[in-house]
């Protein structure tokens, strides 16, 4: 039983590693612009589908992956420039509906370009599964975990050790005052979309060998990433990391120990519980309006 639970936990870590990347995108955009981008999961879809389609066409996996991340970033840039920026005077609810529309539109675009058949992407490296205290992790899961480490380390370095990162934090703390110091809020909003899309696209690329890629994979990933972000705290990048793993582990435990139906549903139970009991999430700050 213990061994089985441990295997569920490992499976949860594997799933959570992806959720953390999607959640990081939610948090980045939320912090910088104050909006929730429900199209976040589609960036992962674009990454996964582009890489898989290119690899299926014969391109080496790493080249295909690099192009896929660029494609996802470009999608993020276009979303901002064509849909968000023209509506910058709109209220929060309107912007949320715009991102829901973007989500549907990008999924539709995926359907048009790649069709309904799942595409597969070869694992980055072969080799046997890794034994972790009696449980197993696939080599590709290790790639996903490595991606988490690199992405979150890069984000940490950016926010803590660069002028631009400090300026973003100032802009997050108080946009109007930050702008009076010449900190360009709109430029930051644009780059937050590009960065969130790049991270989402990278997430899609590294998970594609595990789950295979479909045009509608973004919906589930996006919802899981959103739940993970809310769970960890929408304004906290460490929260996105923690929230992703906690959600992944709870899902797999619920799916394994109760029934597989719970694996999909438990996330929404968590969402409701967090919003009622601890709206700021595990690591987020209580809302403070000065």
């Amino acid at each position: 039983m213990i061994a089985q639970i441990w295997q569920y936990v490992l499976a949860g870590i594997a799933a959570g590693a992806i959720y953390a990347l999607i959640a990081a995108g939610f948090v980045l955009i939320y912090q910088v612009t104050g909006m929730i981008n429900f199209a976040q999961g589609e960036f992962a879809m674009i990454g996964a589908m582009t890489a898989s389609a290119l690899a299926t066409g014969g391109m080496p996996v790493f080249e295909a992956s690099a192009i896929a991340v660029v494609a996802a970033s470009a999608a993020g840039a276009l979303c901002y420039l064509l849909a968000i920026r023209p509506a910058r005077a709109a209220t929060g609810v309107t912007l949320i509906f715009i991102t829901l529309g973007l989500d549907v539109a990008l999924r539709g675009l995926g359907l048009l370009v790649w069709g309904t058949n799942p595409l597969s992407l070869p694992a980055f490296t072969g080799g046997a599964s890794v034994n972790v205290l009696g449980g197993v992790l696939s080599p590709q899961t290790l790639w996903v975990l490595l991606t988490d480490v690199l992405v979150f380390a890069a984000l940490y370095l950016f926010f803590r050790h660069t002028y631009a990162g400090t300026a973003v934090r100032a802009a997050v703390a108080n946009p109007p005052i930050a702008s009076t110091f010449g900190i360009p809020l709109r430029t930051f909003a644009f780059w937050s979309f590009v960065a969130a899309a790049a991270i989402g696209g990278l997430g899609g690329v590294v998970v594609a060998p595990i789950t295979s890629a479909t045009y509608d994979m973004g919906l589930t990933l996006g919802l899981a990433g959103f739940v993970a972000a809310v769970l960890g705290g929408l304004d906290s990048l460490p929260g996105a990391l923690v929230g992703g793993f906690v959600l992944g582990i709870i899902e797999k435990l619920a799916g394994g120990l109760i029934s597989t139906g719970w694996e999909q549903g438990v996330g929404f139970l968590i969402l409701v519980l967090v919003l009622v009991l601890r709206p700021q999430g595990l690591l987020g700050r209580a809302v403070r309006r000065a």
Binding site: A164, T166, S179
Partner: protein, 270 residues
């Protein structure tokens, strides 16, 4: 700046009127501020001082009249564009960048000015901060950090450089807000009651910062209820009452002006 830069007119407020519905908050006010001077702006509560600051900094657009800085017309520009032209202000209640340390708050203002608001602008500067870069570039980066430390020392808050802004007491927030404003190298500095709520040591620190800013050529506009301190530090004073300018002159002249005394006593009796 030096003695060569004799005081020249920099900020001009011409015929500014601000109406809110039937209320005239500022009524046809005209005055100018010169470089390297402290211009006190006095007046009883509701005289229109803060509204005037809002008009100068671009937060509110005047009903009529205009504000210019040198050759540039400020009226009609957005707040951030007015700021970019060199007008920086502080608020009655200090506004902090929560999440940044004291030093970071000053560095971010310095860097924003230095990089001209073009983020992400200077990748090599960032690389230096992350531990890479040539010796020359490292020196440049060190210079910016040293300027930040000099500004903190000048504001009397060097000891709290590494503290989180959330942990500051009210008076410390005021000192940091002023230091941050100075880090933006303003041509015109608008200070809205910078002494209120401060202890005597903090008041001394703020007054020293104001004098230092003046010495470096900044035109300081000072709204302050502590009349004694205001008259002591100001070179000239403009007095507002019910939105109108009722006096302008040296602190000595204004202090004995019957109209001014009336306004203050009248206010006290109301």
């Amino acid at each position: 700046m030096s003695a060569i830069a004799a005081a020249t007119t920099t900020l001009e407020v011409r015929g500014v009127t601000m109406r809110f519905g039937g209320v005239v908050a500022v009524d046809d006010v005209t005055f100018s501020a010169r470089t390297a001077e402290v211009l006190g702006v006095m007046g009883p509560n509701g005289a229109g001082k803060t509204t005037l600051f809002n008009v100068i900094s671009g937060v509110q657009r005047p009903t009529s009249g205009e504000v210019t800085l040198g050759a540039a017309r400020l009226t009609g520009r957005r707040v951030e564009d007015v700021a970019a032209l060199g007008v920086t202000r502080t608020f009655q209640t200090p506004v902090m960048f929560w999440g940044l340390t004291v030093r970071e708050s000053v560095e971010v203002a310095l860097a924003a000015r230095e990089f001209g608001g073009t983020y992400p602008p200077a990748p090599w500067r960032e690389l230096v901060r992350c531990g890479f870069g040539t010796a020359g570039r490292r020196r440049e980066d060190t210079a910016l950090r040293e300027r930040a430390d000099t500004i903190l020392a000048g504001a009397g808050i060097a000891a709290m450089a590494d503290r989180a802004t959330e942990s500051l007491a009210f008076g410390e927030e005021r000192l940091l807000e002023l230091a941050r404003a100075l880090a933006a190298s303003p041509a015109v500095l608008l200070l809205d009651e910078p002494l209120s709520g401060l202890n005597p040591d903090e008041i001394e620190a703020v007054l020293a910062s104001i004098r230092a800013a003046r010495a470096s050529g900044v035109a300081v506009l000072l709204v302050e209820h502590a009349v004694g301190e205001l008259l002591a530090v100001a070179d000239r004073v403009v007095v507002l009452d019910h939105g109108r300018k009722i006096a302008e002159g040296t602190p000595q002249a204004v202090a004995v002006d019957p109209l001014v005394i009336d306004a203050y006593i009248g206010d006290a009796l109301e």
